[in-house]
Symmetry: D2
Subunit: 229 residues, 4 copies
């Protein structure tokens, strides 16, 4: 089974993190991983997926996947193509790309069969538990109202993280919990860890940073301490 | 809390079960309920909801609900309007009207706050468990490939019913399990009950029947026996 | 062919214009029509459609329609059911309920076959022309950024109305142009007429008014003058 | 302005035309273009877009584009990223990836601003005319019921091609008409040309062919004759 990353960097479709810049940020994440031993992954845009996957050794996730077999589907993203492009797994149901419950269930199954990892986003403890029942590799709890705000869920709504963790564990203790939305500093990451998060999901904090490498190092530092402890 | 119906008749948008015919079938369901004591509900089309709710005493469900507050929403179905129209609750995520995971979670919450019942459809044991984590009043397991076939899930795929029941109970024992798809006879209903279903969800078997009352009586009979046992 | 209304009141799903209140506003519109001779129509929520249609003689429009034949469709709104409920026609593609191009084309055809009227919303001159090519009865031009603002398109963006009118006429001169978004006063209506609108589409100005009848009279006044001129 | 291709090969997401195979087929198309002078383009899957664009000189189209600016959009395909990946333009509204009318209008505008070409699919003459009003570079008429059947629209429904051509020309004579669905042989292409098509859109005939180069040569032959005539 694929190991869940401690830090998953969603590059979204920012100009600052697309094309050549996507590969560059991924290389800096790879360097940070080699230096710290903390597993870091990136999720580039769909059109950057293959180039990034070719360029680095760290895990690369698709931002979206369609639970369709390869075939007569125009403009879609079957899991087989995600794998063929060199990805390690896929995000599913990000709040900016929500899908139906059945889509989530089928996508998790498809990815699992192909040996790929699934990380499903959910905005509430209840929906995190619902997703956990479908046995993805990880659930990423992201209250949409905090995405992109710089207000970390681990501070603004610590109860959501704790409740989600409890809800997920109750339903399926094998599912890792990532904490997302608003995480911009090492301090935010440390708070998320204290609340029980396995890892964190970040986007703009790294993708739009003038110095991505330094930011990645800052965000991974609390995991290094964790490992040493 | 609203009692979950043993027999829920989805009238869909068949010509044979719309308009005046919707009210008529609902009245026959009401008669069967009065005679047998088995709780029967109907889910008429959105435009028939109010008329049917006005015409009968049995529970009436909306076929769909949007988790939106009343307001500037054109062509939508807020739960408050469903309630105002006289409905008892709503189906959510029918395979013919699938919605996102967040939609399901929000709709259940909305209905609960308004004192309305929620019955969420799901096609697999895993998705039934996922839905159960969101605490609806009931889950209706309906493998889409059997809908409208006349091949009852309780016979074609008894394992799905049993697995769903187990999965739902594990996650949330307070959620009732309905068994849908392909149920057309009293025998099918009896099989569903033996597998652990609380009730059944039917559509064409009643909606397209030349003699709906007789069909309803046939489908409720196994529940009468159950009550007597 | 159905005559296009000069004033179409979209009741949306406001608490103030749902249920009994929907019927009441429709009756006040009917009274204004009888007194002025200006054709007024209302578009109540889906669950109020039949009750409103039963209660008044003026045209009643559905807020949405699905281009599906009656049948195994749960939670949908086939045109046949819209007709059976007593409606005169339907809005299509309101900015709050957007649909695919094919949906628009099929819905217009379906409504036409059933003798019902189609009024399709579009936000720009280009899209108004596109819609006109599908030969609906009318196009309602509504820049989404003005909806609900109280800033009338006829004042904020008079060029859009004129360009839309020209674009529609070039493609299909038989299609009426309604002007929507932000219209709240008789003055706004007069401006829309001067720009070449056949009629207007309003919502909150009437639906949320403490005195709907007076507001309706105010909004129809410019059409009375038009008729007399 | 970008020249519209005479032959546009949609590689969809077939296993036979993904990854390395996508590049290979694109190279064979490039070879046929060099040998015949007939402009050929390919539309690879989203994850293959950049690799194919890097590998060939012929035009490469995205299978889908989202009318969003680069930014906080997960799992989407902004036109800027399509351009950055090296594409020449994009298909829009393929019947397997239908989008709203507003999406079509905005996507065409976006592509045009970026100097990219837009080819919009439509299933009927009316919808072809509607699309033409939005001024894309080309409309591809594809009756969905013929897609993948091997029954060419130019034979099964020649009237649709002629009516579409007339409808498109009436609305906007600058828009090229491509004929798609069911085209598998040079004879089908010749029939499409006789009916007035500027070019053709094919998929499985090439993508699933054991000898794509020969098939491409066969399909381009009628255009060579056209040029010579």
């Amino acid at each position: 089974m694929m190991e869940t990353p401690r830090l998953l960097i969603n590059l979204k479709t920012y100009a600052q993190s697309s094309g050549e810049r996507a590969v560059e940020i991924a290389r800096q994440a790879e360097r940070a991983w080699k230096e710290t031993g903390v597993l870091i992954a990136v999720a580039p845009s769909l059109v950057d997926l293959r180039t990034v996957a070719l360029g680095v050794e760290i895990p690369v996730y698709s931002q979206h996947v369609d639970p369709l077999d390869p075939g007569a589907h125009t403009g879609h993203v079957p899991a087989e193509l995600v794998k063929e492009a060199g990805a390690t797994g896929s995000l599913i149901n990000h709040s900016e790309r929500q899908v139906g419950l059945h889509h989530i269930g089928e996508a998790i199954s498809k990815l699992r069969k192909l040996g790929l990892s699934s990380i499903v986003c959910a905005p509430t403890p209840g929906e995190s538990a619902a997703v956990a029942a479908l046995s993805p590799d990880a659930v990423a709890i992201e209250p949409p109202e905090l995405i992109g705000t710089g207000i970390p869920v681990s501070k603004a709504k610590p109860g959501i993280v704790q409740d989600s963790l409890k809800a997920v564990v109750d339903v399926n203790p094998d599912v890792d919990l990532l904490c997302g939305a608003g995480i911009t500093s090492g301090e935010d990451v440390a708070a998320a860890i204290r609340l029980g998060s396995y890892g964190v999901l970040v986007a703009s904090a790294v993708a739009k940073s003038p110095r991505p490498y330094e930011k990645i190092r800052e965000l991974t530092a609390p995991f290094v301490d964790l490992t040493r402890a």
